[in-house]
């Protein structure tokens, strides 16, 4: 993919996310129910590496040469912009010059689900919105 495309692509996704977050804000504040689906997705697909406690210590992490990100770490997660989180979930670690051991999930989730997961990760780390 050429760089012009990917720039306009991440622009679009960040705009999408901003509007999504704006839309979700009241519900998210009211209760955690709005994360129910994202939480289910996380438990099914992400805990194998990122851990049942979301701390990067998944059952697979023992033999991995690059350790999965600790999603409960407010500092580490706060430094990652939303657009990168969305890109990495969709296209894998390589999309952000990170390890291939973080797989691409774009073939499994809808864009809507990727956005929900990204918002859920913010809820887990209690950090950052967009930057």
């Amino acid at each position: 993919m050429n760089s012009r495309n990917s720039i306009s692509f991440s622009w679009l996704t960040s705009i999408g996310l901003i509007s999504l977050l704006a839309f979700m804000e009241p519900a998210a504040a009211a209760s955690d129910d709005s994360f129910e689906h994202a939480e289910r997705l996380y438990d099914t697909y992400c805990t194998q590496c990122h851990g049942v406690n979301r701390d990067g210590n998944g059952v697979n992490s023992v033999f991995m040469s690059v350790q999965p990100r600790d999603h409960s770490d407010a500092k580490g997660m706060g430094d990652i912009p939303n657009s990168e989180i969305i890109d990495v979930i969709k296209k894998g670690g390589l999309a952000a010059n990170k390890s291939v051991l973080m797989p691409a999930w774009g073939g499994v989730f809808s864009d809507e689900e990727v956005n929900q997961l990204a918002a859920y990760l913010r809820h887990v780390c209690k950090c950052g919105s967009d930057q």
């Binding site: 194998q48 049942v52 210590n57």
Partner: protein, 231 residues
């Protein structure tokens, strides 16, 4: 949209008429195996079903397994998925990394030789009518093991979830050390290409892998079990 809808309605009609077919599932399997394995194509692909199922789906077993392996394994079922089916229900936090809760994993029912042969014969009749598996896709060109290992471990990251060598590698996916004996090569190829097509919702991602790389990975996995034999 419309033709699609019609196709869906048609398909569900077809599925209902297949109820007759379900009764055709060999009795040995229906009585002893249906409580844990889907022997006909499940109606629902929801995440809830994946969480509730007690064993892997077997409705396309005839396109997946090698019969000789089935006969042996059913008599002496060694663990294939180190964290069971499904992994999330069998892992818990450990001192540092999550660990497999072995006490939650029950051993697989064991069959006597005659029953194993009958079950294997029956399983081989359960074939997929939907072309899930690309027949003849694997071209059987041998890849050097060092090259295959590089793709499996480093370039493609398969080792994060699968072990190529017993006791080393990921635990959430089936072990690969005996996969060459267990699985038909075209199934291995098709599954790597699009696991979501064969087992919708499964926790292996659909990655974008070229045919050349699919050939290498398949050849590597097929050869792993020959390596196991020499030990």
């Amino acid at each position: 949209m419309k033709p699609y809808l019609f196709a869906a309605i048609g398909a569900s009609f077809f599925a209902t008429s297949l109820a007759v077919h379900a009764a055709d599932v060999p009795a040995v399997l229906q009585s002893k195996c249906a409580s844990c394995h889907a022997l006909t194509k499940p109606e629902s692909n929801s995440l809830d079903r994946l969480w509730e199922r007690k064993g892997p789906d077997l409705h396309y077993a005839g396109n997946k397994f090698n019969k000789e392996w089935l006969v042996e394994w059913l008599q002496d079922p060694a663990k294939i998925r180190p964290a069971g089916e499904f992994y999330r229900k069998h892992v818990k936090p450990g001192t540092k990394e999550d660990v497999v809760d072995e006490s939650s994993l029950a051993p697989h029912p064991k069959l006597a030789r005659k029953d194993a042969e009958a079950a294997a014969n029956a399983l081989m009749t359960l074939t997929d009518p939907d072309g899930l598996i690309e027949k003849g896709a694997f071209k059987d060109q041998k890849v050097a093991m060092s090259m295959g290992a590089m793709y499996f471990n480093k370039l493609r990251g398969c080792a994060a979830c699968h072990s190529a060598v017993p006791g080393k590698g990921g635990l959430s996916g089936p072990e690969m050390a005996t996969a060459g004996k267990r699985l038909q090569p075209d199934f291995i190829y098709s599954y790597i290409k699009d696991p979501q097509k064969i087992d919708k919702g499964v926790w292996m991602p659909k990655l974008d892998i070229s045919d050349a790389d699919l050939q290498k990975l398949t050849s590597y996995i097929v050869q792993l079990s020959a390596k196991e034999d020499k030990k």
